[in-house]
Each structure stands twice: as structure tokens, then as C-alpha cells.
């Protein structure tokens, strides 16, 4: 389409009787520029409704969620006096008595406003065990009329324990790196450096590693199963290929939930898989495949197989058979021809299929939730759990942040090296 043609949309300009292009070069090119500008504007206006809707329904929610990972004003809002009293504390030892008095005042006010529990929960997220101590102190402050608040607070050992005040001081900054570091099992130490959390508190690195491991295992399995089938479909005559491709597309078109449901039926102790294993003699007794890592990988492999296979197939079917024939006629053995002529050409398709499956596996939620056991839950399940059970939005946000960084980085590599067109299936 040539840029010199007037767009279909500059009809009004023509209707107003402007000189036809070519009558006066100057006016004509100005009219052209105007028309082109209008054209751009109109196409933007056409796309605007969907872009706005996506910003509202997708963009803002994700940005809002991610912001929760680094912005948590709960403690700062609940402890205004303490924040002020700690402003020039050097972080060493205990702060001055003024800070204790300010804390007592803040705690009493939270109790009066009914926000004490929220504060206790927020502190507890950063300092396990803080919840009960905060609530205890609040009750004592309320109950002991006449007794100086400073004494009451000092009498609770928790408020003089090492680690308590640095945590409070940290919490009074609404912008925090605490949750992001926690999501990687890291924390700030007393000297201002970053260290690993003690092993008994470390959970997330293990979950990330598990997610990567499952994703890698599923990717490898889909490649082993998918590559030969893609090769076969690309090599047989058209009619047979069409039938075989239906076998790939039928599961592809069935929802993940339905396929997961099918696998929960198959993997039961008295299910078909166990029947087969017994019958074939691969197992001497019925195995617990449900709620196991291997069951999860099998089900995920089934779901992801078409995602790996289709991009490989779409490259394979563009390779002319004559190339292999040429290689044979030049004296190459089948294996050599395959390795030196065929493989280098299908490599982008293999990359696309594997990368796509790996990226999608990182975000699996339904299948681990239904088929995985407690030790097979992937990172998405932890995110959901922090929202549904623990009600800890900040931690859910931090885990989402890290998962999203990995996903988008891999997607960026995909788009950069392979191009977005490879995302198209079939």
C-alpha cells in the first residue's frame, strides 16, 4: 500500500473541493500530510477503547498489586509519634526513652481506634511472634490506670529485645524492600548489608527452584514426546497429516481444568494409569500418583505438549523434502543429513516451543493445586495462598513481582530472538 494514496478517510477534504493532488505541489503535499495525520489519529481512536479497557482491567490491577510489594504504609500510619521519635535514632542499641513513651501513646491510640490488631499483624509479618506481644502490651496499657506508660512498655521484654526496634524503625518507612528480599529468602542485617535468612525461615528460594525444576522437566518431556510426532506429521502425506494433527488439537482445545480433572480421575489409586502399570508389570503394587510430583509432571506434560509441538511443526512443514533428497544425493547418511540439514532449520521452532512451554509452566496454578501434594505447590499457589489464607498482600505482591520479572524477561527473549509471530499456533 503506497503512502502516496489518499486514505479512504479524507473524503471530507475532497468533498470540500480541495484541489486534486498534483494541481499545486505545495498545497497537495500539505493536504497529504494533514490526511496522513488524521489517518493516524483515527486509527489511534479505533484502538483506544480496547487499550483503555486493558489499562483498567489488566494494567492498573497489576501495577497496584506490584506496588504493594514495595509500599506498605501500615506501620508508618499506625505509629506516627514513634516514627518521629525514631527519626534521629542511629539504630544501635535501644532508642531513647522518648521513643518508648511515643510507642505507648501510639499503641493506646491504635487500641482506641480499633486498629491495634492490624498493626500487630503488620509487625508480625516482619518479626514473627510480634503479634501476641503487641496485643499483650496494648491490653496492659489499657488496664493499668495511673501507672506510667514508659514502665509498662519497658516491663515487656519484647520491646527491649535486639531486633525489635530496628524492625519498627524499618517499618516506619512506607517504601520498603523487606518483602522483595523476603521473597528471595534475604533480609537486611544489623550492619546494613543483605544476608540470607536462617534456614528454618527460608521457604521461597526452594519454591522458585521447584517451579523451575518442574517447568524444565515438563519442557524436556514435551520435547521428547513432541519432536518425533511433529516430524512424523510433517513427513506423511497431507490427508494423514490432517488426521494426526487433529489428535494434537483436540486436547489443545480442551480447557486446562477439564484436562486436569481427567488426570485426577486417571491417577487415582484404582485409576487407569495404575491399572496399566500393574498389567504391564511395571509396578508390583498400586502407586500413589495423585498428590505426587510425578503425577503433576505427567499431567502438565499432557497439557503443554501441543504448545511445544505446534511451533516445531509449523517450522518443519516449511522445509522442502527436496533438501533432504539433495543431502542424500550428495552422499550424506540419513543421520548426517538430519543433523546438518534438518536440525539447524527447525531449531527456531524448537526454541519457540520449548521457551513457550517453559514460560507457561512457571505460571501454573490449577494443576498443582489439584494434582500436586503439599510439597509440589508452585509459586502461583503460594501467591494465591498468601491472598486467600494468610491475608498477607505484601508477600503475595512480592512473589508476584519476582515471578513476573522472570516471566517477562523470558518473554522478552522470546520476542527478541524469535519474534512474536512464532506465538501463533497452527
Amino acid at each position: 500500500m503506497s503512502a502516496l494514496q489518499p486514505s479512504e478517510l479524507d473524503r471530507p477534504a475532497l468533498a470540500r473541493g480541495r484541489p486534486a493532488a498534483g494541481a499545486d505541489p505545495k498545497t497537495a503535499s500539505a493536504a497529504m500530510r494533514r490526511a496522513e495525520f488524521g489517518d493516524r489519529l483515527r486509527s489511534l481512536a479505533l484502538a483506544a477503547p480496547l487499550l483503555l479497557l486493558l489499562a483498567l482491567s489488566f494494567g492498573i490491577p497489576i501495577v497496584l498489586l506490584l506496588s504493594r510489594a514495595v509500599y506498605d504504609p501500615t506501620i508508618a500510619d499506625a505509629l506516627p509519634r514513634t516514627s518521629q521519635a525514631l527519626a534521629d535514632w542511629n539504630g544501635q542499641g535501644l532508642p531513647a526513652d522518648a521513643a518508648f513513651i511515643a510507642l505507648a501513646a501510639d499503641l493506646s491510640e491504635n487500641q482506641a481506634k480499633g486498629t491495634a490488631y492490624e498493626l500487630a499483624k503488620a509487625l508480625n509479618a516482619r518479626l514473627p511472634g510480634a503479634r501476641s506481644q503487641v496485643l499483650k502490651t496494648v491490653r496492659q496499657l489499657e488496664g493499668a490506670a495511673g501507672k506510667p506508660p514508659l514502665e509498662i512498655v519497658k516491663a515487656v521484654p519484647f520491646w527491649s529485645a535486639p531486633g525489635t526496634w530496628p524492625t519498627i524503625a524499618n517499618g516506619t518507612h512506607a517504601l520498603t524492600s523487606f518483602y522483595l528480599l523476603s521473597a528471595l529468602d534475604l533480609r537486611w542485617n544489623a550492619d546494613g548489608g543483605i544476608e540470607r535468612v536462617p534456614p528454618e525461615q527460608a521457604i521461597f528460594l526452594q519454591v522458585f527452584l521447584r517451579t523451575f525444576f518442574v517447568a524444565a522437566a515438563v519442557t524436556l518431556a514435551t520435547l521428547l514426546l513432541g519432536f518425533p510426532l511433529a516430524y512424523l506429521i510433517a513427513s506423511v502425506p497431507k490427508g494423514l497429516a490432517a488426521i494426526l494433527i487433529v489428535a494434537v488439537l483436540l486436547p489443545f482445545w480442551t480447557s486446562i481444568l477439564v484436562r486436569t480433572a481427567a488426570w485426577t480421575v486417571l491417577l487415582q489409586k484404582f485409576g487407569l494409569v495404575n491399572d496399566m502399570l500393574l498389567w504391564l508389570g511395571f509396578a508390583s503394587e498400586r502407586l500413589d500418583l495423585m498428590y505426587s510430583r510425578i503425577g503433576l509432571i505427567i499431567a502438565m506434560t499432557h497439557i503443554q505438549l501441543p504448545f511445544t509441538l505446534l511451533p516445531i511443526y509449523s517450522v518443519m512443514r516449511t522445509i522442502a523434502p527436496s533438501q533432504m533428497k539433495a543431502a542424500y544425493s550428495l552422499g550424506a547418511r540419513p543421520f548426517t543429513a538430519f543433523r546438518r540439514v534438518y536440525l539447524p532449520q527447525v531449531f527456531p521452532g524448537v526454541m519457540a516451543g520449548c521457551l513457550l512451554t517453559f514460560i507457561l509452566c512457571l505460571g501454573y496454578y490449577i494443576t498443582p493445586a489439584l494434582i500436586g501434594g503439599a510439597s509440589d505447590q508452585l509459586i502461583s499457589n503460594f501467591i494465591a495462598n498468601y491472598v486467600n489464607v494468610e491475608l498477607n498482600w505484601e508477600m503475595a505482591a512480592a512473589l508476584s513481582f519476582i515471578l513476573l520479572v522472570f516471566t517477562l524477561a523470558l518473554f522478552g527473549i522470546f520476542a527478541r530472538i524469535l519474534g512474536l509471530d512464532r506465538l501463533k499456533m497452527v
Binding site: L46, A47, L53, L250, S255, L257
Partner: protein, 275 residues
């Protein structure tokens, strides 16, 4: 070309092994999705072969009890709402993007596709957080809005593909003949790209109808959809009613997607010979 012109016995064995391996892979692909079908017609209450007898009692449960009926109703409300919005806005966007002068095409396309790549839990949790603030949590509108984000990329892609075969000179001809832009769209462009639009609509419908994670976070107890009922059922107690529900859902998505793909193919076949 499976065999070289003068195959050695070793090569014949390799090709036979390839067929065997692929046969097993095809069984692996098909058996799991076919297995719920006979089980859903089982008259017994267990998932064990051999079947006790044929009956439609589990379909009566799914189609006849209030819990499942309301779930099917909710699914249809959400899926039709999503399809309507995603198809309309997605088609407009695909038309805009098919214009080579669209500013920032290279940025817009990855952004449009990102809902397919971002882990759906993140989308669901984010929507839950934001929609609760603006009063859209536990509303059909909220679920439809979130589903539109997930479904519209399919519409943009399928309509975009059918537009690559659309000759823009036709719109110019319509304009010169005096048609207003809207008339030209409805009488010239839409009939030609209709297969692509319908195909996109079918994709959007299936995407929404099958979706369970976003619904899990956004729906109130009265707004449970069919997949959500299935998910809850699978977590609580395994009932053969689930295999009936699964069979129904599978049949619906396969039928719609077969239609969608046939339409998409037809849409692209209309590409003019000159390109």
C-alpha cells in the same frame, strides 16, 4: 520424507520405531481427554472401569440441580458479555493495527498479547485487589472486564489475520462512491472479514467459558461459574457429576473451536491473488 531413496534395514527399523513412539504419544494425547466421556455415562458412583452400567444420571445432576444450573447460567452470562465486548473492541483494534501508519505498533502488539503471558494468578489477584476498591469485586461486570483482557488478544490476532487479506482500496472505492465511513465498514469491510470476526468471537467465548482462576478470586458465592463448581468439586469430593460436567465443557469448546478454525481458514483463503 521418512525413508531415504534406498533404505537400509536399520533405517526401516528406525522408521518403524518412530511410528511406534508416535502411536504411543497419540494415545497419551487422546486417552486422557476421552476417558471422562464413558465415565460420565456410568451408572455407578465410582470412577472405576469396568462400568457398572449405562445411565444419564450424572447428566441429570449437572443439568437438573439448582447448584449446577446456576453455574451454567453464570458461565453463559459472563461468556456472552465477554464475547460481545472483546469482539467489538478487538475488531476495532485489529482494524487500527492493520493500518501501517498506526503509531507505536511494535509496542502495542506485545502489550495486547501480555495478558496471555502474565501468569493468570497475578492477573486474578491484581484484579481482586483493584476491583474491590472500585466496587467491581463480586459483580458480573468485574468478571467480564477481567475476562475481556484475557480474551481480546485472540480477537485481535484472528481479525488481524483476516485483514491481511483485505484490500484497503475497497474502502477507498466505497468512499469515492459516496459511502459514509460507517456504511463502508458495515457493507464492504465487515462482510469480508466476518469469518475472522466470528472466529475471534468463538475464541473469546471459549476463553471466558473455560476460565477458572480469575473467577475464583472475583466471583461471589452466587456467581460461581461451571469451571469454578468443577474446581471446587474436585477439591472437595470427587463425584462422577464432574466427569459429566467435564464432558459437556469439552464438547462445547471443541465444537466452538473447530468452527472458529474453519472460519479463520476461510477468512484467510479470501486473500486476493495479488496479495
Amino acid at each position: 520424507m521418512l525413508l531415504s531413496p534406498y533404505p537400509t534395514p536399520g533405517e526401516r527399523i528406525r522408521v518403524a520405531l518412530l511410528w511406534l513412539w508416535c502411536g504411543l504419544v497419540i494415545l497419551f494425547l487422546l486417552v486422557p481427554i476421552l476417558i471422562p466421556v464413558p465415565l460420565s455415562f456410568n451408572s455407578g458412583a465410582f470412577f472405576i472401569f469396568p462400568l457398572e452400567g449405562l445411565s444419564t444420571r450424572w447428566y441429570e445432576v449437572v443439568l437438573g440441580t439448582q447448584r449446577w444450573q446456576s453455574a451454567i447460567g453464570n458461565s453463559l452470562i459472563v461468556a456472552f458479555g465477554t464475547t460481545l465486548i472483546a469482539t467489538t473492541l478487538g475488531t476495532l483494534t485489529a482494524i487500527a493495527l492493520s493500518n501501517e501508519k498506526f503509531p507505536g505498533r511494535r509496542i502495542v502488539m506485545p502489550l495486547l498479547l501480555s495478558p496471555l503471558i502474565v501468569p493468570v494468578v497475578i492477573t486474578a489477584v491484581g484484579s481482586y485487589l483493584f476491583y474491590a476498591r472500585i466496587g467491581l469485586a463480586s459483580t458480573y461486570a468485574g468478571i467480564i472486564l477481567a475476562h475481556t483482557a484475557l480474551a481480546s488478544p485472540f480477537v485481535v490476532v484472528t481479525v488481524g489475520a483476516s485483514l491481511t487479506g483485505f484490500d484497503r482500496n475497497l474502502m477507498r472505492a466505497a468512499a469515492i462512491s459516496g459511502a459514509k465511513p460507517l456504511t463502508a465498514f458495515f457493507r464492504v469491510m465487515l462482510p469480508l472479514i466476518l469469518p475472522g470476526v466470528l472466529s475471534g468471537a468463538a475464541f473469546a467465548f471459549v476463553t471466558s467459558f473455560d476460565e477458572v482462576v480469575v473467577v475464583q478470586f472475583l466471583a461471589s458465592a452466587g456467581q460461581r461459574t461451571m469451571p469454578l463448581e468443577m474446581f471446587i468439586g474436585l477439591r472437595e469430593k470427587l463425584s462422577p457429576a464432574i466427569t459429566a460436567a467435564a464432558t459437556l465443557m469439552m464438547a462445547l469448546s471443541i465444537v466452538l473451536l473447530v468452527v472458529a478454525n474453519l472460519l479463520a481458514r476461510r477468512g484467510q483463503a479470501r486473500r486476493p491473488a495479488s496479495g
